[in-house]
């Protein structure tokens, strides 16, 4: 069957990641779009809805042992309660926000990296995060 854009090749993934902590200036230099997907782990139920809905297959839920080394930050998996990690390919992500809509617990947000934290409840969508209850601001 001919490949269509609805069925694109998956971005490349590794099983030996080198985890490095960077700041938002690095991110804004490395990736053109200024908005970034975030997941708040505390309410994620690991349904993989975001993984399924992403048309570009750029969001993934994998075991923490995919990260071989961590520099300047705690290595996921060291804490035995670390269950899964979510990875995103920021060069492939189109910021379509389908995953934001898909998430049944509403823990995915599309926001600017490095922007000051929103006041009050951190789960509230604000202008800052570019999203308010399914409505783009």
């Amino acid at each position: 069957m001919a490949r269509t854009d609805a069925n694109p090749p998956m971005p490349e993934w590794s099983t030996e990641y080198q985890l490095v902590e960077v700041d938002h200036e690095y991110l804004t230099k490395a990736v053109k779009p200024k908005q970034f997907i975030h997941i708040d782990q505390s309410e994620c139920i690991m349904c993989e809805g975001c993984v399924d809905i992403c048309p570009w297959k750029c969001i993934h839920m994998v075991t923490p042992d995919a990260i071989a080394e961590a520099t300047g930050t705690e290595q996921p998996g060291m804490d035995p309660s670390d269950n899964v990690i979510f990875l995103i390919d920021d060069d492939v992500c189109t910021r379509c926000a389908l995953c934001v809509d898909r998430c049944p617990t509403g823990v995915i947000i599309l926001g600017k990296a490095g922007a000051p934290a929103a006041e009050g409840d951190s789960h509230t969508r604000t202008n800052n995060h570019g999203y308010a209850y399914g409505m783009r601001l």
Binding site: A6, E25, L27, H38, Q41, I85, I88
Partner: protein, 233 residues
């Protein structure tokens, strides 16, 4: 500003150069697309060029696009509680049944219907004249695709040949997905099932050929080169 260890920088740099070199040699001009030979995932992994970067207040000495495929990949979150899904270290590609499978199947069904339509339009297949019970055809043969079964009937009791054997075949077909748990679709991994299917096809082909060409009047055994062919398509 966090120090990035020398060896990580070197590995990332080497991978970048490799990717850039491959790009220059490649036919396509897409800057961030890497030619196929570099897309080998395990290779990218063992080169260690992968950098998951977390947006946190720290410095970056990481070269831009040091992740797999020259992309920037980010650790979104580490989830602590138990999962309702089974997680694997490497992601599995999943697509939805609709439209990826069903669209193709629908088109295939349309194509078959169109073919049948044209075929029955072009090929004339009239009924024969009214049957005369004083003059029944001899031999009386089933359509060719039933002649294997008819041949079986000459060897066994109708209960065995007509019900038990086909029934066992149907049950085996129903159970096939449970009996054959081998997920591979490479012929070299499926020797047993391939030989089973070959045996079945040979068995059936031999029965059909005997029933078609080696059975004459009274459905008695005959040789086509001696008594002629008693076969109509």
């Amino acid at each position: 500003m966090t120090e990035i260890p020398e060896h990580l920088l070197k590995r990332a740099q080497a991978a970048r150069e490799k990717a850039a070199g491959g790009d220059a040699g490649g036919a396509q001009a897409g800057g961030d697309r890497i030619p196929d030979q570099l897309l080998d995932r395990t290779k990218a992994a063992s080169d260690g060029a992968a950098a998951v970067v977390a947006s946190a207040p720290a410095g970056g000495g990481v070269p831009v696009g040091a992740g797999p495929g020259g992309h920037t990949q980010r650790l979104l979150t580490v989830v602590k509680s138990g999962s309702i899904q089974e997680a694997k270290a490497a992601p599995v590609d999943k697509v939805h049944t609709w439209p990826h499978l069903l669209a193709v199947e629908f088109v295939a069904a349309l194509a078959c219907t169109a073919f049948l339509f044209v075929f029955s339009w072009v090929v004339n297949a009239p009924l024969l004249q009214a049957a005369d019970f004083n003059k029944t055809p001899n031999p009386s043969k089933a359509p060719w695709y039933f002649l294997g079964l008819q041949e079986l009937l000459t060897m066994f009791h109708p209960m065995i040949a007509g019900v038990t054997l086909p029934g066992m075949g149907l049950i085996a077909l129903i159970l096939a997905p449970y009996l054959d748990r081998n997920a591979s679709n490479k012929p070299e991994d499926r020797k047993f099932m391939t030989s089973m299917m070959t045996m079945f096809l040979m068995f059936w082909a031999v029965l059909t050929i005997i029933g078609s060409f080696f059975r004459g009047p009274g459905f008695n055994f005959t040789f086509p080169w001696r008594d002629g062919i008693f076969f109509e398509l």
